[in-house]
Amino acid sequence: MATTGAHAEPNYIAVFWWLLALTILEIAVIYMPFTRLVVVILLVGLALTKAMLVALYFMHLKFERLTLWIIALTPLILCVFLILMLTPDIFPS
């Protein structure tokens, strides 16, 4: 967790190839004869992996201190709360 500028530059081109490969994989998944649940789990997993790659390497979060991690994770936690609070609307008791 050194200050920015002090860390070694990550291999951006490698991250690019990973993002490209995961995108192709995502498109392949929707043509596969999987059940709906499997497709949803795979696609959400792949999308979150890609989002994490962008945040960790392109946005340098991997090399940042705790403060920025807390800021970055706050909206995620709030979104989970949002889903929990809205779920009763879809499944009325």
């Binding site: 920015t4 500028g5 690019f16 959400v44 909206p75 809205l86």
Partner: protein, 202 residues
């Protein structure tokens, strides 16, 4: 070295241990967290509406994914050119900065062009074919709100990056400013990755 540090503190006397790098970066992260909540609410709202609807078309059939896959590829490429422009200006390579930041801006513009084409095509041809219109079904409403909100962010990013490029070439901005602009641009890319999955593929 200590002289530099003293100079630095003279410029920003209120520098805190929270963010020794810069206040600008902390500010951008706080803005992005707020912006992530806006996108998060829209995406969660979309999910809830979709789940609660009895009739929902298969998005990939109506929207088509070839053009969108290309747009995703374009944004990923422009994110790469953005980090390359940061590493160029960090080395003091102004030609590299001009080339890569210019390419980033170009990528954003092509993305917007594709989106304008896609919207026109959907509104005038594709949606009526499936019995929808711009405003009659939640499918169309959520689609246009989500992609529209994102498109406005791309527009903002193109203007922001252009302003940063001009300021850098005039010597008023440096690597620090390019890094902060990069944070915004990568966030826009990150959100598109999620929209591409949730709106087009799922």
């Amino acid at each position: 070295m200590s002289e530099v540090a003293v100079m630095h503190h003279a410029v920003e006397p209120a520098e805190s241990p929270l963010t020794p790098e810069s206040w600008g970066k902390l500010g951008m992260w706080i803005f992005l967290a707020a912006d992530a909540m806006s996108f998060g609410s829209l995406i969660v709202g979309y999910g809830i509406l979709r789940y609660a609807s009895t009739k929902w078309p298969v998005p990939s059939e109506v929207l088509g994914i070839n053009l969108t896959a290309f747009m995703t590829f374009l944004l990923i490429c422009s994110s790469v050119t953005m980090v390359l422009s940061l590493s160029a200006i960090s080395r003091g390579d102004m030609r590299g900065l001009k080339k890569f930041l210019g390419l980033t801006i170009l990528g954003g513009l092509i993305f917007l062009g594709c989106q304008a084409y896609e919207w026109t095509h959907l509104i005038t041809e594709r949606l009526p074919e499936f019995g929808f219109s711009f405003s009659t079904h939640l499918f169309a409403t959520t689609f246009f709100i989500l992609t529209g909100f994102h498109g406005m962010h791309v527009t903002g990013g193109v203007i922001y990056n252009s302003a940063v490029l001009v300021a850098c070439l005039r010597g008023r901005y440096g690597a620090k400013h390019v890094e902060i602009a990069g944070l915004y641009w990568h966030f826009v890319d990150l959100v598109w990755i999620l929209i591409f999955t949730f709106v087009y593929l799922l």
